[in-house]
Symmetry: C2
Subunit: 340 residues, 2 copies
């Protein structure tokens, strides 16, 4: 078997699986943000027509999957695998969204880096002939996350300036063995990095070292430099986390500049929408990928991007027990033309 | 790329990745059960020398990984991937066990079927040249599960006869591109099956339809019959769930008989240990695989087995909201000699 490994953490996908469908669904605040026009569906009702927020979150995923399939021109039973996960305890957002789908399902948990993990595994299984079509999907919901991780929503508890706002959004990307692109050419699997940050209102700082670690591994393994990419985008580090990543690279003598963006800073208007450090949640990078990045790759704005969503692998229990916050980041390289 | 798919849900692994290391760690009740002699490590202290049960659960995983690596004769940095997950909210059992490992990590959530999902993905990535070595690992802990899913442990709440007992155990299996076996030859990815069971004290009934669904898909896809296998083993359905699976197959005119076992019935002595319907938890099937099944494949007792752990994709929140319990089952075929 041909070795597809490049260095310690990165693999090359010789067949460059193609992205053939993608969709993003968002809520009220997302409909007031700068990416509103790019969403496939925006809903003002936080319940998404259901009886509970959790059912609403599952409904977002269902709609994202249906829309992505429709845009890909595929029937549901053409999907060989769905990779999905979310922030809810026991990932019920994904399990209940797929309960009646009759689709082969591998459940993931990688916090807000789930979109990166799902894309990675879907692309690798397609590249190796285990699948013709596979979907990667995730979601988050402000109200389900808030009451699970922090306070009951009606308390209206105050948030420190370093806090981020959990996106109410879902994204689904469908990959295929062949298609017109964009293509996934490389995948870098993250390691857990924990620098001892234990402030749950400062997730950007907790996850930034993992983003730096995975991006550095990608450049080292592929023997490329940031300048080789039109866009390098982490998520969801927010304003503070992005600054920290810029600083880490600066210490290595690398100035990332505006070529480096973060999904958490793009979903909302940080000045007008009072979101402090930006957006967070699995749905943040999933929505930015599917509503913003992929359409603009299609239109030719970017030809080669590095998508690197970040996750904080804590739970309320681990924080109550005084543990620091482990971070992780999974990266995929997406190219319009894999030969270029 | 060669198509490796067989039917709707099953794939064949042409290179048959080899299991080169395996280990099981258990707690006090596991040390009193019929498999006690087969565990690599048994610990009487439910904290495993730590300050919290959650840290204890992570410690079990750490020890399972270390022991499996040692038995495989591998250094930690030879592992290309670890696939791990557990039952704790946000899967902190796995995240904290791997926090300092410096290992590439893909997090999974598939409830008690996690060992099946991890083995599947590890084997597929090795078969396709993305990895030389990969580990699949999971755990559960009676005390962390009990207080998260049910009642604070000191309440000593009564359990109905259909209930199972969450195993305090961890298992780790290490796969490699080459080795003397046993080998993973086929993988069947499960679909969610939900027949409307909402009794959280009867997980066997909730998961049995998923087990039947995945096993049926495996036999259909591979054009084989139960008689072609020395052992077909689900987990963790327990006594009642196993009866339901037997019934489902009986309706198809297939008598599985004693060839069909369930991990939930093997970990404890159901008569002496008063465990009602048997063991459950991610650690149950992981421990039975690594302490019981793999050693006996090595010794020649079985040559070809079908390992099909089952998971219940509920959460306390979904149950409080009146939802039924979605089940899933992921199967892998393990052979001593893949050419036979």
């Amino acid at each position: 078997m041909k070795n597809k490994r490049m260095g310690r953490q990165t693999v090359v996908l010789p067949s460059s699986p193609s992205i053939v469908g993608f969709a993003a669904v968002g809520g009220k605040l997302e409909s007031q943000g700068p990416l509103a026009d790019s969403f496939d569906l925006l809903e003002q009702d936080s319940m998404f027509g259901q009886k509970t927020w959790e059912q609403g979150e599952s409904t977002m995923q269902k709609k994202a999957l249906e829309t992505a399939l429709s845009k890909a021109g595929l029937r549901k039973n053409q999907l060989d695998y769905v990779f999905a996960g979310d922030l809810l305890n026991q990932c019920i957002g994904s399990a209940f969204s797929l309960r009646d789908s009759n689709l082969p399902f591998y459940g993931l948990y990688s916090a807000c880096s789930t979109m990166g993990e799902g894309l990675s595994l879907a692309a690798m299984l397609i590249d190796s002939g285990f699948a013709q079509h596979a979907a990667a999907m995730t979601s988050s919901h402000f109200c389900t996350a808030e009451r699970q991780y922090r306070m009951p929503v009606p308390y209206g508890s105050q948030r420190p300036p370093s806090a981020q706002w959990t996106a109410t959004a879902a994204g689904c990307t469908i990959l295929a063995a062949s298609g017109g692109g964009p293509h996934i050419t490389h995948v870098t699997c993250g390691k857990i990095v924990d620098k001892g940050i234990n402030d749950v209102s400062n997730m950007g700082a907790a996850m930034a070292p993992a983003a730096y670690d995975t991006l550095s591994a990608f450049f080292r393994d592929t023997k490329t430099a940031p300048d080789d990419y039109d866009l390098i985008i982490t998520g969801d580090l927010g304003k503070l986390g992005r600054e920290i990543v810029l600083d880490f690279f600066r210490k290595d003598g690398v100035e990332l500049g505006d070529r480096y963006q973060d999904c958490g800073m793009l979903l909302y208007d940080l000045k007008k929408q009072d979101m402090h450090c930006g957006a967070s949640g699995c749905g943040c990078s999933a929505a930015v990928l599917n509503a913003h990045l992929l359409p603009r790759m299609h239109s030719g704005k970017w030809k080669k991007i590095l998508f690197a969503p970040t996750g904080a692998l804590l739970s309320p229990t681990s924080s109550f027990q005084g543990e620091s916050i482990p971070g992780i980041c999974h990266a995929v390289c997406i190219c319009s033309d894999p030969l270029n």
